[in-house]
């Protein structure tokens, strides 16, 4: 009996065993966590899935009083706000990435600009929201009036003009995804093999001919990955958007009108929801999660493939 106990203790005191078991458990727990999140939200969304099915995607009303729920306005809001954010952030982000990866500036300045852009990533979402309410909203209100007066015939800029609008949310999202785009694009640009650059210069290309002709095309898969990952971030961003977008549940295609995204809908209604509304919110959460998972998986796969290719070019 005593010996048995001792043997047991000995086997457990052999450190390799328990550390291996612990480490394996932790790794498996990470995998299980994602599965659990997806399953839990799926099971909570079931009543709404059963009741609305595919109609959930095409119905444009969100009415807790009559228990009619359709996520179309929020799907449109999520897509529009993140696509517009990317349209604004992409040129800026790539410009900064080029500026930081080529030798325009001495390394000290490059480091400090990089540092500043990384700080942008560290600012909490609510602070962006607070700042947006104080600065971006008044600007959008003024600029929106001008836009709707001069370009109002385009549905995108139809009035009436609100401060809390899709445009305000897109602007703040653009600022928030800028660090993501910059960081990943910069890595892609830095990874372009030196021989390609030298080849371009040796053939007599100017700096920008080399950038547009050789460096950007070589780095383009990485930049595409950066764009997709930034899209994922923009779609999931909650607080700043909820504070600026106006949280309307009506379907709108105008940039100047209040709107809602899947994430802002959850932030606004989840606390007070009851009955079928909870399930419909879970349905929306499921939709948001699957969309971001899909987008992020695509981005990661592209990123991984490009890294493999650059490694191959290096080895040649």
């Amino acid at each position: 009996m005593k010996e048995k106990k001792r043997a047991k203790r000995l086997s457990w005191s052999h450190p390799a065993d328990w550390l291996y078991v612990l480490c394996w458990t932790a790794a498996a727990a990470t995998v299980a966590l994602l599965a659990w999140i997806v399953l839990e939200i799926f099971s909570q969304a079931l009543p709404s899935l059963r009741k609305f099915g595919l109609q959930f995607f095409i119905r444009a009303s969100w009415n807790p009083n009559t228990d009619h729920f359709g996520a179309l306005p929020f799907l449109v809001g999520t897509t529009m706000s993140s696509v517009f954010a990317l349209l604004i952030a992409l040129p800026l982000g790539i410009a900064i990435a080029i500026f930081l990866s080529e030798d325009f500036l001495p390394p000290v300045f490059r480091q400090s600009i990089r540092f500043v852009v990384e700080l942008l990533a560290a600012i909490p979402s609510v602070v962006y929201g607070l700042w947006g309410a104080a600065i971006v909203i008044p600007i959008v209100r003024k600029g929106g009036n001008w836009l709707s007066n001069s370009l109002g015939f385009i549905p995108l800029f139809q009035g009436p003009v609100f401060g809390n609008s899709m445009l305000a949310a897109s602007l703040i999202l653009a600022l928030m995804v800028l660090p993501t785009i910059t960081a990943i694009s910069r890595n892609a640009l830095v990874d372009v093999p030196k021989t390609l650059r030298e080849g371009a210069y040796a053939l007599g290309a100017t700096r920008w001919e080399a950038i547009f002709g050789v460096i950007l095309p070589t780095a383009s898969p990485g930049i595409v990955a950066a764009t997709i990952l930034a899209l994922g971030r923009a779609m999931g961003e909650t607080m700043a958007v909820a504070m600026l977008i106006g949280n309307s549940t009506r379907l709108t295609f105008s940039l100047l009108a209040p709107a809602g995204t899947l994430a802002s809908l959850l932030a606004n209604q989840f606390a007070e929801a009851e009955g079928l509304q909870v399930s419909s919110l879970m349905h929306a959460a499921l939709l948001l999660m699957l969309l971001t998972l899909l987008v992020n998986a695509t981005g990661e796969i592209i990123l991984r493939r490009t890294q493999r290719i650059t490694v191959k070019i290096r080895q040649r």
């Binding site: 450190p15 390799a16 550390l19 291996y20 612990l22 480490c23 394996w24 458990t25 932790a26 790794a27 727990a29 990470t30 995998v31 966590l33 994602l34 839990e40 939200i41 909570q44 800026l92 410009a95 900064i96 500026f99 930081l100 600009i113 540092f115 500043v116 852009v117 990384e118 700080l119 600012i123 909490p124 979402s125 609510v126 602070v127 962006y128 929201g129 607070l130 104080a134 600065i135 800028l178 100017t206 700096r207 920008w208 001919e209 990952l229 779609m235 999931g236 909650t238 994430a263 959850l266 606390a271 879970m282 959460a285 948001l288 999660m289 971001t292 998972l293 992020n296 998986a297 990661e300």
Partner: protein, 292 residues
């Protein structure tokens, strides 16, 4: 002599031809545009920092950290409970997520490097970093809060889920940074896998791991969405981790909607404190990396 060189064609000095001049001035022009666009992004950042400082600093008094939030419409008071709530929840979240993240990183990088399972874990961790933070909040709400009510514990679990993949991936990078030769030398001297990991690899990877943990702290402290439906908010001092608890980020969100001047200013002061905490942790983290 000149005519000989000219007849050689390719050797002609072309740097003065109009076409080359156009090309090089276009290049310079583009460089300026690129620099201009880069500097353009500094404007919003400076504006955020300026506004937070201008609106936050005048309110910054010691009493902010020792008193409770004021009732709606009245002035005076601070957000001591929110500061403590944030600290409690962030440290609890770190306490939960750090061991799991680091152990999982050890598994995929030391025990089972390159296997299919490890690749899957890495990929899933990357996917988890991309999950919207509000999803973490909703998940914890439906698993925990529905049964046990709003609590600081639920808030920290939501934050832990949020930072787990960050910790896992940064720890993995830290372990990758340890030269492979060290492991070979250690194994060559007769050390077991455990001894190699515990005595050689981990101490070597520790500084870089600390950086990852600090980045996780910065991320957790700034997040609002996961604690919004889990820890909720409270206007009183934290009683225990089983009660609803205030946090700085939720306080900013709540007070930003209130149309009273004092509350609005309190939101700015809280932003100042929050941005301060987040910036200091992430700057320290980056300095740690740069030192190496």
């Amino acid at each position: 002599m000149m005519s000989v060189i000219n007849s050689l064609g390719p050797l002609v000095d072309t740097s003065k031809t109009p076409q080359v001049k156009l090309r090089s001035s276009l290049s310079i022009f583009l460089s300026f545009i690129c620099a201009g666009l880069s500097l353009l992004t500094l404007i919003p950042l400076l504006s955020i920092v300026f506004l937070v400082l201008r609106n936050g600093v005048p309110l910054l008094k010691p009493s902010l950290f020792t008193s409770l939030p004021p009732a709606v419409g009245s002035a005076g008071g601070g957000f001591g409970n929110a500061v403590i709530g944030t600290l409690i929840m962030v440290s609890l979240a770190l306490f939960i997520a750090a061991p799991v993240g680091i152990l999982a990183a050890i598994y995929i990088n030391e025990y089972d490097r390159g296997s299919g399972f490890s690749c899957a874990v890495r990929f899933i961790a990357k996917l988890l970093t991309g999950i919207p933070s509000i999803i973490c909040g909703i998940f914890v709400f439906s698993v925990l809060v529905v049964h046990l009510g709003f609590s600081a514990m639920a808030g920290s679990i939501a934050l832990a889920i949020l930072i787990l993949p960050t910790i896992l991936l940064t720890s993995e990078q830290a372990l990758l940074g340890v030269p492979y030769a060290l492991r070979e030398a250690s194994t060559g001297l007769g050390a077991t896998v455990f001894q190699t990991i515990w005595c050689i690899v981990l101490p070597e990877a520790l500084p870089a791991m600390t950086t990852g943990l600090m980045l996780a702290i910065a991320r957790a402290a700034g997040e609002t969405a996961p604690v919004l439906f889990t820890a909720l908010f409270s206007s009183y001092w934290p009683k225990s981790i089983g009660h609803p608890t205030a946090s700085l980020s939720v306080l900013i969100y709540n007070f930003s909607n209130i149309p009273y001047d004092y509350q609005a200013n309190l939101a700015w002061a809280a932003s100042l404190v929050l941005v301060g905490i987040v910036t200091i942790t992430s700057v320290t983290a980056q300095l740690l990396v740069r030192k190496r």
